[in-house]
């Protein structure tokens, strides 16, 4: 009996000691950022206000929820995150349907007697090109002019007091990189003045 009590005491007293070495579970929100993390892409408007005494960063409530969802690792609002094909099942269904569409269109084209051989070949090339183009656009939703295009006239717009709207990628960076500030990086290339190389 004494041996049993002694064994229980050893186990009970050792429990806190042994568990002290275990890392306590951390909440996702408390996780420290150790590297730059891309959150989402959204729109940004830079405007001037002559009546304001302090710079302001205005964020809508829905965007704030999207930030929170993105930080928590949940997909958030798919429309804001990107909208197109973020779900594997939907992508599979879409792929199957597109496969059927292209296959049937090809069969119709091949069996059609109203087109000549050259026209059929041209139509097939156009079909494949459209398909590849659509796939490229879907897989790279931001394809098109680079984001910097919309910001190219920012200095002139600021000088005139006019707003400028463009896309912005939101990133969370480690604390030591910004030391408590926020940083807005605008993709502006240095414009050489006339006569300057």
């Amino acid at each position: 009996m004494k041996a049993l009590l002694f064994a229980c005491c050893v186990v009970l007293f050792n429990a806190p000691v042994t568990s002290a070495d275990l890392k306590p579970p951390t909440k996702p929100a408390e996780q420290k950022v150790t590297e730059t993390k891309y959150i989402l892409h959204t729109g940004l408007e830079i405007a001037t206000d002559p009546k304001a005494y302090e710079a302001k960063l205005q964020i809508s409530q829905s965007q704030l929820q999207s930030f929170r969802a993105a930080l928590d690792g949940s997909p958030g609002n798919p429309a804001v995150v990107g909208g197109i094909a973020v779900s594997a099942p939907r992508t599979i269904i879409a792929g199957l349907l597109m496969f059927l569409a292209v296959s049937i269109a090809g069969v119709f084209l091949a069996r059609s007697s109203s087109f000549g051989r050259t026209q059929k070949a041209l139509a097939a090339i156009v079909l494949v090109a459209v398909l590849l183009g659509a796939a490229a656009i879907i897989t790279r939703g931001n394809a098109g002019p680079p984001g910097s295009y919309r910001w190219r006239n920012l200095p002139q717009a600021l000088a005139k007091g006019e707003p400028t709207v463009g896309g912005v990628d939101i990133e969370v960076v480690p604390d030591d990189q910004l030391s408590g500030r926020m940083r807005l990086i605008i993709p502006l290339k240095k414009q050489n003045s006339p006569g300057e190389e």
Partner: protein, 341 residues
Amino acid sequence: MQSAVELRTWPRARALPNARVFVAIVVLCIIASAAFASWLPLQVSIVTVFLFAGPHNWFELRYFLMRLPVRFGRSRNFFLTAFAGLGVLTLAYVSLPFIYNAATWSEEAWSTVIATWNTSLIVWLGALIWLRSKQKPRANWGWLIPLGLALCSLNWLGPDFFSLAIVYVHPLIALWFLDRHLRRTRPAWSRAYRRCLYLLPLVLVGMIWQLSQTSSLADSNGLFWRITQHSGAEVLPQVSSHMLVSVHLFLEMLHYAVWIVALPLIGRAASRRFWDVKTVPVARHPKGFPRLVAGVFVVAVIAVAALWFGFSIDYATTRDVYFTVAIAHVLAEAPFLLRMI
């Protein structure tokens, strides 16, 4: 078997010499609508929907009744499919907000639900086209199968974008109705009308070019927020909501102008008496249903008055209810347009 009773609803009218006046009015409508929609999109949207949403539905209902045969005959399957799909899809669409409030599904699950509804819509349209093509053996509509499948595929890639596309495409259907109507009643005007339509993409490109750099509209209150959301501000956050609301409002104004002004006034003089039940073939025919048609008209007038009353009391809620229930008239356009092709 009962044979179909073909009604000569739209006898070819004599071409009138004032086609130029018609062209001038169409061009003026397009430019004025674009100007108002670009200038004060939110305010004009509120006024436009308040004034014209209900009446345009009334005129649309009357137009569909005028296109309805007294006996379905060999179009029986077509109309049964049309009405069954119309009822089921409308009920499913109207029930979605209630399910949304009751269920706690994820965003992904909702995307799947929306994609399923959109797919059902495409399948229903495909069935109607197939049934219609059986009545037109010369028409080669087989290429619509891969097109429908491709649309289904795009819908599953981005259900929200597909739903938004319906919002923007629907007003344009009215222009198609007017085109078919003119070909039957005023063939001399048809070519001029089609030339006028070339102006539409130019105006749209001009609006997009002018408004794409504008600041987004202040959706500070619930009503303004609803209007911008309806135009796709949430689905396309990188696009100026001013541009979205203006473009959508511009198309809506053309839609209302076609249904309320153009279609009732262009045609036979008798058909312009839109209040007269006897101008509707289903009511005028000896085997027709004059009392039923009169009853439908009266109920529709009461609904329009109720809509105005609702807008006066609580505009935002009434707008929500209206645009949910209005999916029925969006769907109803499909079978009647197919009957005109």
